[in-house]
Each structure stands twice: as C-alpha cells, then as structure tokens.
C-alpha cells in the first residue's frame, strides 16, 4: 500500500468524523425540541394533571383517553381536521393549476402576474383571517354582501352559517399561490419540443395536457400535497381569530389548545396531542414514502 493511499484513507475517516461533529448540533436541537417534549406529552397523557390543582400527578392509565374519546368535542374536531385539509388541498391545487396554466399561456406581463399571485402566501395568518372576516365576509357591509346585493340575493352570514368552509376558503387563499408558483415553475421546465412533436402528430390540447403535462406535474403536486398537509394539520391562528373555536370549526390543534389553556386539563389535552401526532404520522408515513422516493438525494 502506498503512502498516498494510506493518507487518503485516514483523511476520509477524519472527514467523516468531522462531518458527524458538524451535524451534531442540528440533530441535537431537533431531538431536544421534538423527541423530549413528545415523551413528556406521552407521560402527561397517562397521569391526572390539572393546572389548577398542582401536585396531583397520579398515574391513571388510559383514563384521559377515555375522557377524550367520550368528549362531545373530540369527534367533530377530528372530522374538522380532515375536512379542512381536504378542502384546502382541493381548492388550492385545482385553482393553483388552473391559474398556473393561464399564466403560462399569458403573453403580457408574466412577471407582474407572478407578483400578484404569490402575494397572499406572504401574508401572516391573523392578517388574512381578519381581513377576510371583516372586510369581505362580514354580512352587513362586507364586500361579498355587496356582490350578493347586486345579484339580488340575501347576504350570507359566512361564519355563522358555514364556519368551517369559510375558514377553508381563507386558508386556501393563502396556499393557492404556493401551489400555483410551484406548478408554474414546473410547467416552465416542460419540454417544448415534446409538446411541439405531439402537436405535429395531431394531438389535441386536452390529450397533450392529459398524457404529457399532467404526468410531468405528478412530482410537484405530490410535494405540494405533502408541504400543505404539514402546515394544514397545525392550523390554529385562522380559527383563533375568526370563530375562536367551538364544535363547528375546531380542529385537533385547537382542541388541544382549548383543553389545556382554557380548561386547564393537561391530561386530556395531552391525550388529544398524542392523537394529533398519531394522525399526522399516519399521513406522513404515506406522504414521506411517496415523496421521499422522488427526491433525488
């Protein structure tokens, strides 16, 4: 073995060692801020822990889960979580795709169009929720009430009649730009020659979209679904500032908040937190597997 080979060999070990040291702080912080508190949540979920009566930390087994599952607010919260994610995903991806196709086909001012469309994504949730609730959806003098009046219809009292749908629309408005921008970027990398060849072969616009463009968009759509789901499962501020909870619009995240911060029942809140984590992981299992395969690492 030559000297050079030995030195590269030990150099590589040294590099690997150094690499571990460089990753360690990042991994350490993530562990400290995810696994540690998660363990604590698991522990709190099996003890009787009320904020108002400190010192009572008796082990109660699954009693908190029993109380949670029989709580009238639990099932609606679980359902609301699912409905919110599904509605927002549907609106933002279908709307985002349609908008991306339009912008891609636009001849004038594509840069300006992008700026207009992406803007809602950078608006903080409390701002978008309050602007929509007051300026647009307010039933007496809101903008939508005026539109309804033009068509001779009675204004809709959005948050009283369809609170969950109202919140979904607001949240979809924030995420549609995200879906649109990613799909637009992906559309722009679509092979022009392939499209032209298909056109020469007499393929219709719909056939080109269905058999060439849509498969090309499969990966970005999968990524959009994953990223949005991550954020949508933790939806909180939009509910907090509009309806302030209640069975018609609370999701799991909000249920945890109200059990702990409003009812001081740490045990039940922790049990709800554990359910939220399991629920997210169930989705994550499929999503990360589907998307992780397509990430080139």
């Amino acid at each position: 073995m030559t000297a050079a080979a030995i030195s590269t060999g030990s150099g590589r070990t040294y590099l690997t060692l150094r690499a571990r040291l460089m990753i360690a702080p990042a991994v350490g912080l993530l562990l400290a801020i995810s696994i540690l508190p998660l363990t604590a949540t698991l522990w709190f979920s099996v003890i009787d822990y009320r904020l108002l009566t400190p010192g009572s930390s008796r082990f109660v087994g699954l009693a908190n889960y029993g109380r949670l599952f029989t709580d009238a607010a639990f099932l609606p919260a679980l359902l609301n979580s699912i409905i919110l994610v599904v509605l927002v995903l549907a609106i933002s991806i279908l709307g985002g795709l349609a908008l991306a196709l339009l912008i891609e086909g636009a001849k004038v001012g594509r840069g300006a169009l992008r700026l207009l469309v992406i803007s809602p994504f950078f608006v903080m949730p409390p701002v978008s929720a309050l602007l929509w609730k007051n300026l647009l959806m307010q039933p007496v003098a809101g903008f939508f009430a005026w539109i309804a009046a033009i068509f001779g219809m009675a204004p809709l009292d959005w948050f009283a009649r369809i609170p969950l749908v109202s919140i979904s629309i607001i949240v979809a408005w924030q995420w549609l730009p995200f879906a649109c921008l990613i799909l637009l970027t992906s559309l722009q990398s679509f092979d022009r020659e392939q499209r032209e060849a298909a056109q020469l072969d007499g393929a219709s616009a719909f056939a080109i979209f269905r058999h060439l463009v849509l498969p090309h968009l499969a990966r970005p759509i999968a990524i959009v679904v994953m990223m949005e789901t991550i954020f949508l499962l933790s939806l909180f501020a939009e509910i907090f500032v509009t309806t302030g909870g209640g069975p018609a619009s609370s999701n799991l995240a909000f249920l945890v908040y109200s059990e702990a911060m409003l009812r001081y029942d740490v045990g039940a809140a922790s049990a709800a937190g554990v359910v939220a984590v399991l629920f997210a992981n169930l989705l994550a299992f499929f999503l990360v597997r589907a998307v992780g395969r397509s990430l080139d690492v």
Binding site: L102, F122, V123, S128, N134, A141, W173, I223, L287
Partner: protein, 274 residues
C-alpha cells in the same frame, strides 16, 4: 393564425382577471386603509372616490404597541433565522461534501420532524418554559422557530451546496484551511445567493408563524402576529385601522418575498422543483 392570436389574447385577459381576483383582498385592504372608518364601512362600498387619508397609519403608529411588536417580530424572525443558519450551514456542509451511507436517512429524518404537529409538544413546552422563565420571551420563541425551520434550512442549503465544486473546498483543506476558514472564506462567497435566499425564506416563515407566537407570548415579547390577533376583539370593527395595521405588518416580508419567489420554489420543494 388569427384564431391563435385571439385565443392567446383571451388567455392573457383571463390570466390577468384571475390574478387580480387572487390579489383582490389585499388590494381592497390597501384601499380601505386610506379611508375614514365611515367610508370603510359604507354600503355600497366606495371604490376610488373618497377622501384619501393617512390618518389610520398615523393612529396605528401612534400606538406604542405597534413599534414594540415590530421590534419583537424583527428580533424573533431575525434571531431564529440566524440560529437556524448557524446550525444548518455546518450540517448541510457535512451532508453535501462528506456524505455517508446515513446522510439520506438523516435528511429524511429531519424532514419527518416537520410532520410532528406543534400541538403534540405544546403542553410540555409551555410548562417547561413557564418553569424556566422563558414564557413571553423573544429568545424562547426564537429557539422554537429556529428548530421548526432548521429542516427546511438544511434541505435548502444542502441543495445549494451541491452545486459548489467539492474540489475547491478540498484544495483549501490541503492548503491547511481550518474548518471555520473553509466555511466562511471559501464556501460562503460561492454559496452566497443560496445562503441569502435560505435566510430570507426562513425569516419570512418565522415572521408569519402564528402558533408558537400566539401561545407563548403575551405582552413583552408579543410580535406582529399577536398585535394583529388583538384586532379580533370588537376593535376589529374599525376596518380602516385594521387595514392600515395589516399593511404595516405584512409590507416587509411581502417585499422580501417578491424578490425571493424563485428561490422559494426550490426551497420549499427541497430542490426537487427548480
């Protein structure tokens, strides 16, 4: 040929209508912020013919809370992003330039921590913070947001670093550059656009974060998200003032976002869409 022109004019017109519809709530709020409260709530709505005024901006800025919240937002978003870069750059360096069999697994594990919903750890974090005196402190919130954005930062930096030729770093190493010199003098200048866009993206995400900021701050450390959320009380009925406060709260990151939108795509799709 004519049919083709007509159809592209129609598409362009439709695209503009759709884009303006998407942006409409913001444009409407911008307009409302220049109205008096009476005009803001008038029915039918006033479009352009009203007495334009800057009074709402004056009122919001005269309220001490606005500047305190602005400062807290800057400290929390800036501090958390700086911390995330401080931890993320070395980690991304290691993954890009000294990959091992475990690199892919570590990257995916980092991504999977984002799948842990914050509510799953809300209660312990709240109670620990209460005991350690970190409730309502900018540092406490910044630490959480740094951890929350770290996976995104690492992914984004990793995907940027891979475009940097490893030979240059190796050459620096052979010339005896220390680790710090290699990162700061050799790597950073070459990856500057990537570093900048990573910083701005996680800064924006931290600026807009409204779960931890609403739950863990109350008075001293309350950022703009909490400042605006306070308008959900009957104060929210002052539409013109709400609009002005909203515009003042979103303007900085909106402008940053406009400049960084292309990097945003790459960052939030983990480099899979460029």
């Amino acid at each position: 040929m004519r049919a083709r022109n007509t159809s592209s004019i129609v598409v362009t017109a439709l695209a503009w209508c759709a884009a303006l519809t998407v942006a409409f709530p913001l444009l409407w709020a911008l307009l409302t912020s220049f109205k008096t409260e009476l005009e803001a709530a008038s029915f039918p709505p006033q479009f352009l013919r009203f007495a334009w005024t800057l009074d709402n901006y004056r009122v919001v800025m005269a309220d001490g809370d606005y500047f305190a919240s602005l400062r807290n937002s800057l400290v929390i978003a800036g501090g958390s992003s700086a911390l995330a870069l401080l931890l993320g750059v070395p980690a991304a360096w290691a993954m890009a330039f000294a990959p091992t069999a475990r690199t892919r697994g570590t990257l995916l594990w980092m991504l999977s921590t984002k799948m842990l919903p914050p509510v799953g750890v809300l209660i312990p974090v709240y109670l620990f913070y209460r005991d350690w005196g970190l409730l309502d402190s900018a540092f406490g919130v910044a630490l959480l947001l740094a951890a929350g954005n770290l996976p995104i930062a690492v992914w984004m930096l990793f995907s940027n670093f891979r475009d940097v030729p490893a030979e240059i770093l190796e050459a620096a190493r052979i010339d005896g550059a220390s680790m710090l010199q290699e990162l700061v003098i050799v790597l950073a200048p070459m990856a500057l656009p990537g570093l900048a866009s990573t910083f701005f993206l996680i800064f924006t995400l931290a600026w807009n974060e409204a779960f931890w900021t609403l739950n863990l701050t109350s008075v001293d450390a309350a950022p703009l998200t909490a400042f605006i959320a306070a308008f959900s009380s009957p104060q929210g009925l002052f539409w013109a003032r709400l609009s002005a406060a909203s515009m003042l709260s979103i303007a900085p990151v909106l402008v940053i976002g406009w400049f960084c939108q292309r990097q945003l795509v790459r960052g939030l799709t983990f480099g899979a869409v460029k």
